[in-house]
């Protein structure tokens, strides 16, 4: 199938710029809590698999580059907390891995690729509640495409993208898809990810589509 005729919404350079910007915002935010590097020491970036996980790692890398401080990173798989398993069927689980310091009393920033209905974030919040008691939880997303079904908003947004419900927003990252880009697909359009470096796991690209598509 041919690639979408739509130009990419965000290019590789756009993605990199957004990550840099959010990294700076996180450094500032941490400094308002506790000046110096102490605030960053309290920060934990928790990626929501699939694509939130590499985004969280990239953010941590950029924060370290800008501030010299190594920030804790973790992942929380939300599959077992989803409320749509009955509708969508079971799927393979991904990693849940918290830093040794845990999350109790710390500032947890959930990181995801697309914010849509808010149900993934709700599931992640439920999972966090079972994992510990953070001092505060914030949310960073690459794309906010609207259509919230829950009272959830992002604290750090890469780009606000007005979409129709029927459209699909697809985030591709080098780690999972071989390339950094964000594209919007029209209904019925199914983009083929024709990147040689793409991982073999179909589950992953489907998973990304779920989160970027209809929740």
């Amino acid at each position: 199938m041919a690639r979408t005729s739509q130009p990419a919404l965000l290019s590789s350079a756009d993605v990199a710029r957004i990550i840099d910007r959010i990294a700076h915002q996180l450094i500032e935010r941490a400094a308002t809590v506790r000046p110096g590097s102490d605030g960053l020491a309290d920060l934990v970036l928790v990626g929501i698999p699939t694509r939130g996980a590499p985004l969280a790692r990239r953010l941590a890398a950029r924060i370290e580059a800008f501030s010299g401080v190594t920030v804790d990173v973790g992942t929380v798989d939300i599959t077992l907390y989803r409320d749509d398993l009955r509708l969508r069927g079971v799927r393979a689980l991904e990693s849940t891995l918290l830093p040794d310091g845990g999350i109790d009393g710390r500032l947890v920033v959930l990181v995801d690729d697309v914010l849509f209905s808010g149900r993934s974030v709700r599931a992640a919040l439920d999972a966090l509640r079972d994992l510990g008691r953070p001092q505060a939880v914030q949310l960073a997303v690459l794309v906010d495409r609207g259509h919230r079904e829950l009272p959830i908003r992002a604290d750090y947004v890469g780009k606000n993208v007005p979409t129709s419900r029927a459209q699909q927003v697809r985030v591709h990252l080098a780690e999972t898809d071989g390339v950094d880009e964000v594209v919007v697909e029209e209904p019925g359009e199914r983009q083929e990810v024709s990147i040689a470096a793409r991982p073999a796991s179909e589950e992953r690209s489907d998973r990304g589509a779920d989160q970027g598509g209809r929740a």
């Binding site: 077992l80 009955r86 079971v90 393979a92 689980l93």
Partner: protein, 306 residues
């Protein structure tokens, strides 16, 4: 995945690997947590239908279902309508009326879970049927081997003991073969079924010859009543020829592990010092049983009702 888990052959290599991977992710997700509970199966009902006493298997399934927030009903044959002669089919229809999403069944008759699967809409999980199969035991054994040795492909597994009457052996032979392991069965010929030649396993009678070539030794429980039926002359002779003692354990390769599905007859098929050694995975097997059964319940019951 098929709708039911009745025997190891219901799982192809991808399915079996998915169960093991899922179990590993669940174990990781729950590691070190105070709240060892997931909301995944909230509102689902799992019935533990146990026609045979098996406290450890029932508890393992019960814990697995509860950690996934399912409602669990324990329906044991003793003290219920079953002991008053209610047929399996009538019991099945009762469970059906109660809206059981999953039925975990243990039964002394081979094939009882297969019959049950004809009569209920929910998923049936075989928790041991007669002398047929015990697929979740094989899954937890495979999980344990993979966890300890890091792989299953090419792992040499020797299963020792009463293969004839063992549902654990049947399930393990099938599942381990599916997952690429090489299985050898060692037993007195009286405790091997006629027809074992058709199984995907090597067969031998000499334990000492096989041990140096075994990465895993799985000792099966041998019941004393087999002695009375002349399957072997005496417990002492059985133990001498087929029991795993410290001397025999010493013949194993350095990294080899010793498994037993429990409950053990210490001093019969396995010496106490072997059961308690660092090679023994017996306690791990119990812990892994919960994660593995959680994975099975999640994969069978988590999605849309079929």
């Amino acid at each position: 995945m098929k709708r039911h888990l009745l025997e190891a052959a219901d799982l192809d290599r991808d399915d079996a690997t998915l169960v093991l991977d899922t179990a590993a992710q669940i174990e990781q997700a729950l590691a070190g947590r105070e709240v060892k509970k997931l909301p995944t199966l909230r509102g689902r009902t799992v019935v533990n239908l146990f026609y045979e006493d098996s406290t450890r298997t029932r508890i393992s399934f019960e814990l697995a279902a509860k950690r996934l927030s399912a409602d669990v009903i324990n329906f044991s044959a003793k003290g219920s309508s079953v002991s008053k002669g209610e047929s399996l089919k009538d019991t099945a229809l009762t469970l059906e009326a109660m809206g059981a999403d999953g039925v975990v069944v243990r039964h002394s008759a081979s094939g009882a879970p297969h019959r049950l699967a004809n009569w209920v809409r929910g998923s049936v999980v075989n928790a041991g049927d007669g002398t047929h199969e015990h697929p979740t035991q094989a899954l937890l054994d495979a999980y344990t081997i993979r966890h300890r040795l890091g792989r299953l492909e090419g792992v040499r597994v020797t299963i020792v003991g009463d293969v004839l009457h063992s549902r654990v052996a049947r399930s393990n032979v099938r599942l381990l073969h599916t997952l690429g392991a090489e299985v050898t069965l060692v037993a007195p010929p009286t405790l091997l079924p006629v027809g074992v030649g058709a199984w995907p396993a090597e067969v031998g009678y000499d334990l000492d010859a096989v041990l140096p070539k075994s990465d895993v030794v799985m000792m099966l429980r041998v019941q004393a009543e087999r002695m009375n039926a002349s399957f072997f002359p005496s417990a002492r002779e059985y133990s001498r020829r087929y029991g795993l003692d410290a001397r025999r354990m010493g013949a194993l390769p350095d990294d080899a592990i010793v498994m037993h599905p429990g409950p053990m007859n210490r001093g019969m098929e396995i010496a106490a010092e072997v059961a308690d050694s660092v090679r023994s995975t017996i306690v791990e097997q119990v812990a892994n049983g919960v994660s593995t059964r959680m994975a099975v319940l999640y994969l069978l019951l988590g999605g849309a009702p079929q």
